[in-house]
């Protein structure tokens, strides 16, 4: 039966590894175990230039169908909010559809639609992005409109405050209706005690209801400048065609000073923590544990690529270690996984989780899961496992260009979190260079941290099956 309402989430599982994955300082080339075949640099083959006001432009030509994806990424997100104004980055994202001198409130998406296009926007900790998918002959129109709201947003109380009710409903729908979403938020908030990654992107409810038009305008004026934005266009367009349009519409907006992104860091944390949510709606319990981990950008020991290979070995499909051990062999779990996504401005996280088979206690499941992690830390992975994982990851990456929006999303997220195009394009080479020693060193470095957070989603006491 058809799904009735599944709100889209941008970084959903199931995207290519590349989408979660993109780039850091080059890992040293291994001296041992040369790859069986040489991976080549190049994933999306983008072209790039900058406007005189500092706005970066990236073009990913793809002439299969006469359509384009046009995206503007601002290098600002929820983690850049002032304390006490949680949710303002996402609130502003909504308000960007509320009009300028030339576009009336609510007209933006309507104009796109009547031109056969689709548009939307999304907010993360580290970026906020706006996009339109349109026929190639409508590209100039959407560039004019997007540039207009970069410089000329006009807000009134009459449109701002009903929209605040909308984001509060969005929070209820996304987070509060389901126990699995609620515990996710609690785990995150427990993991990060000081850094803004512990505050939900959508905001805390008691602060969301106090957000004002003035706060949104202040955030807009502070961060939404062309020199803090990246234009990414993918599809049936060339650099020669795009350049004059980008200069005309975005190049006309003057650069202005934008604050440096200054994020507080986490204090030393030396205790493990546990979050337990018992709820009568829970019939299928689960456990998850999360550790902080290097991101592409903050990766002093060059471990991000090795951790991606680790995730493939531990969690890449039904032949992976965790699935094979816990689901196939021991029959203790119905699912088991390890997740890692290094695209972040500050630190990333690595998480491990499982859900028990019928009749299996959480204690039993947990001890088997932690035993797998212990085994990994003690014995490590083999060179064969690493070779297989590398091969699979590189094979899957060959699909990267078979998409209109995927390349634009990956490149935009990478550039907004401090990576370069060269980093993204070097991904296959860097994955191909990962050795078992590197995977084992990275796994031990992350998993030996004892200040992890464990989350347990359980039925009410007495109803555990």
């Amino acid at each position: 039966m058809p799904a009735v309402l599944s709100a889209r989430r941008f970084a959903a599982a199931g995207l290519l590894a590349l989408t979660m994955t993109v780039a850091a300082p080059l890992a040293p080339m291994p001296l041992t175990a040369p790859p069986a075949y040489a991976a080549e640099k190049g994933v999306f083959f983008p072209e790039s230039f900058s406007l005189s006001n500092g706005m970066q432009v990236v073009v990913i030509p793809n002439h299969r169908v006469p359509v384009v994806t046009h995206m503007v990424w601002y290098k600002v997100g929820a983690a850049d909010e002032e304390r006490g104004q949680s949710g303002i980055a996402h609130f502003l994202e909504h308000l960007m559809f509320k009009g300028t001198d030339v576009i009336k409130p609510g007209e933006f998406s309507r104009i796109i639609a009547k031109n056969g296009g689709r548009d939307n926007a999304f907010t993360s900790y580290d970026y906020t992005a706006y996009y339109q998918n349109v026929a190639r002959d409508r590209l100039e129109m959407v560039m004019r409109m997007e540039a207009d709201r970069m410089a000329n947003l006009k807000l009134t109380d009459a449109v701002v405050y009903p929209e605040r009710d909308v984001i509060i409903e969005e929070r209820r729908q996304r987070i509060e209706n389901e126990p699995a979403d609620r515990i996710g938020e609690q785990i995150n908030a427990t993991m990060f005690v000081h850094h803004p990654y512990g505050t939900p992107v959508i905001g805390w409810p008691q602060e969301m209801s106090t957000l004002t038009r003035e706060m949104a305008e202040h955030f807009y004026k502070t961060w939404y400048a062309p020199n803090n934005a990246i234009l990414v266009v993918s599809g049936d367009v060339t650099v020669e065609e795009l350049k004059p349009l980008a200069e005309r519409y975005y190049g006309a907006i003057p650069a202005r000073p934008v604050p440096e992104r200054k994020r507080v860091t986490e204090p030393p944390l030396n205790s493990s923590r546990q979050v337990v949510l018992r709820d009568e709606e829970v019939r299928q319990p689960s456990v998850r544990r999360i550790w902080t981990a290097p991101s592409y950008r903050v990766d002093p020991d060059h471990q991000a690529y090795a951790l991606q290979v680790l995730a493939e070995i531990m969690s890449g499909g039904t032949t992976s270690r965790l699935y094979r051990s816990l689901v196939v062999d021991q029959k203790l779990a119905t699912s088991a996984w390890l997740g890692y996504g290094p695209t972040a401005w500050d630190m990333a996280t690595l998480s491990v989780g499982a859900s028990p088979a019928a009749g299996v206690t959480m204690e039993k499941l947990e001890s088997a899961l932690w035993a797998e992690i212990d085994k990994l830390m003690k014995s490590g992975v083999t060179e064969d496992e690493v070779a297989t994982a590398r091969k699979r990851m590189l094979a899957a990456a060959a699909y990267a260009r078979d998409s209109l929006t995927g390349p634009a999303q990956t490149l935009g997220a990478a550039l907004a979190t401090g990576q370069s195009i060269d980093d993204v394009e070097s991904w296959p080479v860097r994955i191909d260079a990962v050795t078992a020693d590197q995977v084992n060193a990275a796994a031990r470095a992350v998993l030996s941290q004892t200040n992890h957070v464990t989350g347990l989603l359980l039925p009410p006491t007495g109803k555990d099956s």
Partner: protein
């Protein structure tokens, strides 16, 4: 595996069902009809720009009716076909798929059992062979079966915490009692344990017949190569399937408002009444009407009234659900419990307003330019194109359909809209399901305790 929370402005996902209801410029695609040496037909969009091949197929009607007491058989089968086949056990089969980045998947639906395969050109032969094995020589090993059964059981339990799922289940079981459309396709906690490997074998043998097969392909493959591939993959299947017929049905429960109390922050609202089938002469008029009513996301009447003007919801949508033996026009949304009555009233008022007044000329024009202009946006990947081809073929719309679609939409008149709106939309007849703790509604029936 997302670890960063990313939040979006809207979810227009509900629109996806009407996907094939939407357009393509004639020049964009050249669809070839390919018939294999063995007589198997497929449609092909040949495209050598990317070294990717996508194959999509369906067995029409297969799996529509599970045997009594074995509910969930078709779906369980769909999870088992890649769990070992031919010379490969489950782990070996999966490793071959993963090593070569071949995606192979199956899906059980009430109107048919479908499959899809995507491969890089360099692994084509391996991909075709694995696909053939999965359809003709699956193992159905008891060990794998237990694992898949456990996984489905867990997913059924997990879904009981999702108010959208609870609402959907109640809606369909009320709308189609004693009909396969009313049953949970994954079966029940009672039926799943009774299914045996022999049941799966009987299912595959009886229902995967070439007379039911519909195939589409896209990408880096020539008509000659595809012809050979069709015989390789499907040539070994029986010529005729033995699929029990599903009767046509009209929905029940009209006019009821069913409340399922749940401790959720919002009330989830789901409502519907009989709609139009895909071959209904009023399909295009209904498509245009639905776009304006609530199918178009921002700018649609439901979104405008409920979200934009009043901030009552993050999203409210309407959609057409055409099935082979029934059809629905539906709407859904969620709102804070205290304002559920108000939101529901507005949605019903919009239902009535559309039935009474139809569209303005401007709404009609905007709907047409969107529905015709946005179609190529869906052609972003090899697999997406193959899926659309398959749907057009399954719906018997003709190989020229994509060239004609704009014309069908543009031909819709205000008289057509009035006729179809009056025929379909009657708020008094809506079956409404509410999950949550709504204020301001008077249910005709309250079901305590959960489903």
């Amino acid at each position: 595996m997302s670890v960063r929370h990313i939040s979006m402005r809207s979810g227009i996902a509900a629109f996806f069902l009407a996907v094939v209801a939407v357009t393509l410029p004639a020049h964009a695609m050249d669809i070839k009809r390919v018939v294999s040496p063995g007589g198997i037909e497929a449609w092909l969009v040949e495209d050598h720009k990317v070294p990717v091949i996508a194959l999509e197929w369906a067995f029409e009607g297969a799996g529509g009716t599970d045997p009594k007491g074995k509910e969930g058989l078709a779906n369980l089968t769909s999870t088992m076909l890649d769990e070992g086949a031919g010379p490969y056990d489950s782990q070996a089969f999966q490793a071959r798929l993963q090593d070569n980045a071949i995606a192979l998947g199956f899906d059980a639906g009430r109107d048919g059992f479908s499959g899809s395969m995507r491969t890089l050109t360099e692994h084509r032969d391996e991909a075709l062979e694995l696909t053939r094995l999965s359809l003709t020589e699956p193992h159905f090993a008891p060990d794998s079966l237990e694992r898949m059964r456990a996984s489905i059981t867990a997913s059924l339990k997990r879904d009981l915490a999702d108010p959208n799922y609870v609402a959907r289940r109640q809606f369909y079981s009320t709308a189609f009692p004693n009909h396969p459309y009313g049953d949970e396709i994954r079966g029940t906690l009672e039926s799943l344990p009774t299914i045996t490997p022999d049941d799966l074998r009987r299912f595959v043998k009886g229902q995967f017949g070439r007379d039911r097969l519909v195939v589409a392909a896209t990408g880096d493959i020539s008509p000659e190569e595809l012809g050979k591939a069709l015989d390789t993959v499907f040539g070994g299947l029986p010529a005729k399937a033995d699929v029990p017929p599903i009767p046509d049905v009209t929905m029940s429960g009209l006019g009821q408002t069913i409340l399922l109390p749940r401790p959720t922050a919002q009330t989830v609202m789901l409502m519907g009444q009989p709609g139009v089938k895909r071959d209904d002469p009023d399909w295009y008029a209904a498509t245009v009407m639905n776009y304006v009513l609530g199918g178009g996301g921002f700018g649609s009447r439901l979104m405008e009234e409920v979200r934009e003007k009043r901030g009552l919801s993050y999203g409210v949508y309407s959609y057409l659900i055409p099935m082979d033996h029934a059809a629905l026009v539906m709407a859904s949304g969620s709102t804070v419990n205290a304002k559920a009555g108000q939101a529901l009233d507005i949605m019903r008022q919009e239902w009535a307003r559309m039935a009474k007044d139809g569209l303005t000329d401007q709404e009609m024009a905007d709907a047409k330019t969107y529905l015709t202009g946005s179609f190529p946006l869906q052609l972003g990947s090899t697999q997406a194109i193959a899926r659309i081809l398959l749907q057009v073929k399954r719906d018997n719309l003709g190989i020229d359909y994509l060239n004609q679609r704009d014309r069908y939409i543009n031909a819709v008149t205000q008289a057509d809209i009035k006729r179809v709106a009056q025929r379909l939309l009657d708020p008094a007849k809506l079956l409404t399901v509410l999950v949550g703790k709504p204020d301001g509604v008077s249910p005709t029936r309250t079901i305590e305790g959960g489903s």
